[in-house]
Structure formats: structure tokens, C-alpha cells
């Protein structure tokens, strides 16, 4: 019970001091809007292309939203030593890191709904399988957040976190089948696609929005969960190795 009081307050403090700040709210809204507009204009097609573009825009919004903020909430606090205060608290490290990421996961989910709401205004989303889409969005948010956490723990400075995040984020956008089918990628690049968590997240979204998944959805869900667990485990190992010297 006591540990959950700490969990709740760490989560709520982060929401108040980071996620509800006007710059982050505007980032959370503008970024998905910009991606949506960009892809819509670039495609040069009519409204019928929205369902094809939607999974990509949703995934990108989550990926960039969560990873960017983790660099601040974790790296910045570690740099300013306020993170030590959390490490000194009598709460399990696992719960502490979950508390630090819960806000980012919610932020990612909220980001995802910006393009979905826009799409709902412009086209008919009646064919969307919401029972797959919503868990898919949550899982992508968790995987992206844990990827951001893994990066944030691996570096010392905020700018390093942003740089290293881009090293993962941009290739992922092009390799995971969000905008270009993996089958169209050069043969030597394809194996790389299958070691990226977003590949399976994107497949879930394609399946949920327009029944265009290439793998069974159950397998996609399972693999994203495995990626989440692995990233979280590696992060904990890194925290123990690098921060508790």
C-alpha cells in the first residue's frame, strides 16, 4: 500500500510538472497534426487514403511523443540529482521505473488519438476494429516508452538522449512497415525490420484499421509484449549497473 502511494505521487508529479505543461501539450497536439497534414498532402490523393495513412501517423505520434519526453523526465532529473531522491525511497526499483514511465505511456496514448480524431472528422472509421486498435495503441505506447527509458538510462545528458533516440526512431519509421510494406524493402534490410518492436505494433494497427496485417494479430501482440518485457528488464539492469554504482 505504502509503495503505491509513492507510485501514485511520482506519476502525478510527472503529469503535473511535465505532461500538462503548455509546451508539451502543444507538442502532443501539433506533432501528430503536422505528421498527418504532411502525409496527406504528400500522398496527393483524396480522403480515401486516410485509413492507409492512419496507422503510420498514429505510430509515429506515439513513438516521438513518448521517447522525447522520457529524455526529460529521467535524464534531466538524473542530471539534477533529484532522481537520487527516488532511488533513496523505500520502493522497489521496478515500481519506481513503472511510475516514471506511466505518465509517458498515457501521453503516448493521448498523442495517438489526435490523428484518430482528425481522421474521424474527415472519413468514416466505421470499419475500424477498436478492440484491436486500442490495445495495440497502448502496447505501442508501452514499447516506445520503454525504448525511450532504455535510451534515457544509457546516457548522461538530455541532448545525448535525443540524439540516441533519433538513431533508433528514424530508421524504425522507414523499416517497420508503417508507410512502405516490408515486402518492398531490399532483401538485406528485411531481417532488420523484424527485430524492431514497432514492426509488430504497426502490423496490429494495419490489421485494426483496414484488415491489412501480414502476421496473425495474436503473434503481433505476443511479440510486442516480449519486446516490452525485454526493454524493461534491460533498463533495470542498466539502472542497477550505472546508477547504483
Amino acid at each position: 500500500m505504502k509503495a503505491w502511494i509513492a507510485f501514485g505521487q511520482i506519476f502525478w508529479k510527472d503529469v503535473r510538472t511535465y505532461y500538462l505543461k503548455p509546451p508539451n501539450v502543444s507538442w502532443g497536439l501539433l506533432f501528430p497534426l503536422a505528421w498527418t497534414g504532411m502525409f496527406f498532402i504528400k500522398s496527393g490523393s483524396g480522403l480515401e487514403t486516410i485509413p492507409a495513412l492512419l496507422p503510420g501517423v498514429v505510430a509515429i505520434s506515439i513513438l516521438f511523443g513518448t521517447t522525447s519526453l522520457l529524455a526529460v523526465t529521467v535524464t534531466f532529473e538524473k542530471r539534477g540529482r533529484s532522481f537520487e531522491r527516488l532511488l533513496l525511497a523505500p520502493i522497489p526499483l521496478e515500481l519506481l521505473m513503472l511510475a516514471k514511465t506511466a505518465g509517458a505511456i498515457l501521453f503516448g496514448v493521448a498523442n495517438a488519438f489526435v490523428p484518430i480524431l482528425l481522421a474521424a472528422l474527415l472519413t468514416n472509421l466505421g470499419g475500424v476494429a477498436w478492440t484491436s486498435l486500442i490495445p495495440g495503441i497502448v502496447l505501442i505506447a508501452v514499447a516506445s516508452t520503454f525504448l525511450g527509458l532504455f535510451v534515457a538510462v544509457a546516457v548522461k545528458e538530455v541532448f545525448e538522449a535525443q540524439t540516441l533516440s533519433n538513431f533508433f526512431r528514424f530508421p524504425m519509421v522507414f523499416l517497420c512497415g508503417l508507410f512502405f510494406p516490408i515486402a518492398q524493402l531490399p532483401g538485406w534490410l528485411r531481417p532488420l525490420s523484424y527485430v524492431l518492436p514497432l514492426t509488430y505494433g504497426a502490423d496490429i494497427l494495419h490489421g485494426a484499421v483496414r484488415r491489412a496485417n501480414t502476421l496473425p494479430l495474436a503473434l503481433d501482440f505476443l511479440l510486442v509484449v516480449v519486446f516490452c518485457g525485454t526493454l524493461f528488464f534491460l533498463t533495470l539492469v542498466n539502472v542497477k549497473r550505472k546508477w547504483i554504482l
Binding site: A6, K13, R81, R85, L87
Partner: protein, 336 residues
């Protein structure tokens, strides 16, 4: 033992609040802490003194769970917590050398947040935060953001945050470094009050006078090893009957010490830059000494009799000049 503290310190039969045996920390080839052993009795103020890089902060980090020991054992109130100091973290409050509260939260919110980290329910932590703001003279600025506090206010709030959950043991790393004299005095009074209420305090400081005034017992650590550990009174016995004089020369004269020791066999001389410290079991007669130096073209700018203090003990047992400590202290104060 300081007057008025007798009641607060529990009987010797109780297990020590902190007990450390052979505690060591190595970073690759560098040994930061070299198998130290000591016990901090319940209800005492234990001072841990040493120059920069001596191993003070590393020791605190191991005791609080921010660093893993390379060897040795850590016990709190008789229970072994070496393998998981986390299981003892509810027993301790930690005030680090740098104030590390959240600049974007106000004073009251910071205290409430710290209380929540230790599982305090909301009504309890809010009442406690109000009490502490009052006690530390910060009630008027409780709704001001921490980032806008002065250095002294920041230190006070950081100490208040350390005791939010009423820990039986409080670790304080350089609590008065870099703050003004009035705030430092107020903090010392607050610490004495906390201790009188039964809190065991583990204090590291560069300020030897502060340790002398506050602490029941003191351990001197140099290069990761404890070189002396005793009550303040017992440590002062080391220099009891000793007389010391300090001379400030116009320039550094490396040979001066050797020449003085040869001419005045009763005097023990120690040089730190252009400053000479002369110690003797008898009162030091200044006139022949100054004449001796004058004959050798050594100009003396200043001569002062040094009172018997813990500073003297520190110089004797560590071999480190008080000037070096002062410089470090100034450097740290400027950085803080």
C-alpha cells in the same frame, strides 16, 4: 558527550543505529573506501571528517543504498542489510551535499512529495509539511517555488525533506557548505534539536569547528581509511598540554622548518606553503623564534597563538594542513 544529550543517547546495551565492518568500495583499480569499521550509537551525532576525496560521500552512498559495497557488512539496529540496503531505506533520511528537491514544485509540495515517497497518507504528510515549514522558518515561503529559494532556504528545506517521514537515522552530507553564517547557525540549532528528540545523526563536514560543536563522536577518514575515531573530548586529549603557534611568512621557505627544528628541539614544525605551524609541550616563546628567523632573512607577516581545538587534532592525525581544508571548503562553498 554534550550537556543535555545524555537522555537522548540510548544505553550501550542497545544495538548501534549503524554498524559497519570492513566496508570497502573499489572503482576498478582505485580504492575509494578501504575496509572501514565503525558503529554509530542510537541517539548520537557522529561526525565523519576528512578532506575531499577521502571517501566520505562514497561511504554515505553505500550506507544509503546509492552504491554497492565491494566488501564488508552494513547493519542497521542490529539487522544485516548488506545485500539489500533498500530494505533499510525506510529507517533513514538523507540530506545530500547538493539540494536536490524539485525546482518546479513549491516548498510545501516538495515536502508532501517526499512524504509520499515513504508512503505517508495525504492528511499526515500535509500536516507534517506544515509543521516542518513552521519549524524551519519557511512557512512564509511555503508556496514559493523551490527554484526561487535562496541557498540557505534550499538547505533548510532539503533537511526538512530528509526528516519528513521521521526517520530514526539522518545522514547529512555537508549541511552548511556554501550558505551564510546566520543560516548555518540556524541549521546547527535545528540539528541539535532533532538530535535532542532522539534522531541519530551521521554528519559529514569540512567545518571542523562545526563538528566539534555538534558531534558526540568523530571519525577522521583519509584516503578511504579511518585514522582516528573517538569522542570529541578524548580526541582533544591528543593535544591537551600542547601549545601551538602559527607563523605566516612573506614567502614559502622550504628549509625553514628543518632549521627551526634543529635550533629549537622542543618545537615540532609543520609547513603548508608560506604558513608554519609550531607545536610544543611548553609555551612557545615568540621573541627568540622571530629573531632566529629574522637573522636568516625570513620575514614574518603574522604570528598567532593557536588554541587547542579539533583542528589541531585533525592536523596531527591526518597530516593534512588546515589551510588545505580551508581552501577546499572555500572552493566547495563557491561551487555550491
Amino acid at each position: 558527550m554534550r550537556a543535555g544529550q545524555q537522555e537522548a543517547v540510548t544505553s550501550l546495551g542497545d544495538p548501534p543505529a549503524i554498524e559497519v565492518e570492513g566496508l570497502a568500495k573499489r572503482f576498478g583499480d582505485v580504492t575509494a573506501v578501504d575496509g572501514i569499521s565503525f558503529a554509530v550509537r542510537q541517539g548520537e551525532i557522529f561526525g565523519f571528517l576528512g578532506p575531499n576525496g577521502a571517501g566520505k560521500t562514497t561511504t554515505i552512498n553505500m550506507l544509503t543504498g546509492l552504491a554497492r559495497p565491494s566488501g564488508g557488512t552494513i547493519r542497521y539496529f542490529g539487522r544485516d542489510h548488506t545485500s539489500s540496503v533498500k530494505s533499510a531505506q525506510h529507517l533513514m533520511g538523507v540530506v545530500p551535499d547538493e539540494s536536490n528537491l524539485y525546482p518546479e514544485l513549491d516548498g510545501f509540495e516538495n515536502l508532501c512529495f517526499c512524504g509520499a515517497l515513504y508512503g505517508m497518507p495525504r492528511p499526515e504528510r500535509e500536516a507534517r509539511a506544515r509543521d516542518l515549514l513552521e519549524t524551519f522558518g519557511l512557512a512564509a515561503v511555503g508556496s514559493r517555488r523551490f527554484g526561487q529559494y535562496s541557498k540557505g532556504m534550499k538547505r533548510k528545506l532539503t533537511i526538512a525533506a530528509g526528516i519528513m517521514h521521521r526517520p530514526p537515522v539522518l545522514f547529512l552530507d555537508e549541511p552548511t557548505t556554501g550558505i551564510d553564517v546566520a543560516s548555518a547557525r540556524q541549521i546547527r540549532q535545528l540539528l541539535a534539536g532533532l538530535n535532542a528528540a532522539g534522531t541519530t545523526i551521521f554528519l559529514t563536514t569540512h567545518y571542523i569547528e562545526e563538528a566539534e560543536r555538534l558531534c558526540d563522536r568523530i571519525g577522521f577518514i583519509v584516503s578511504g581509511r579511518i585514522v582516528a575515531l573517538d569522542t570529541v573530548d578524548s580526541l582533544l586529549q591528543e593535544v591537551k598540554g600542547q601549545h601551538a603557534v602559527e607563523l605566516l611568512l612573506s614567502e614559502e621557505r622550504t628549509a625553514a622548518c628543518a632549521e627551526i627544528s634543529e635550533a629549537f628541539p622542543d618545537l615540532r614544525c609543520q609547513a603548508t606553503g608560506s604558513r608554519l605551524r609550531l607545536m610544543s609541550p611548553k609555551p612557545v616563546s615568540l621573541f627568540p623564534l622571530l629573531r632566529f628567523l629574522d637573522e636568516r632573512d625570513v620575514r614574518v607577516f603574522e604570528a598567532r597563538v593557536v588554541r587547542q581545538s579539533l583542528e589541531e587534532v585533525f592536523v596531527r592525525v591526518t597530516g593534512i594542513g588546515v589551510d588545505e581544508m580551508r581552501k577546499e571548503r572555500e572552493k566547495q562553498g563557491a561551487a555550491a
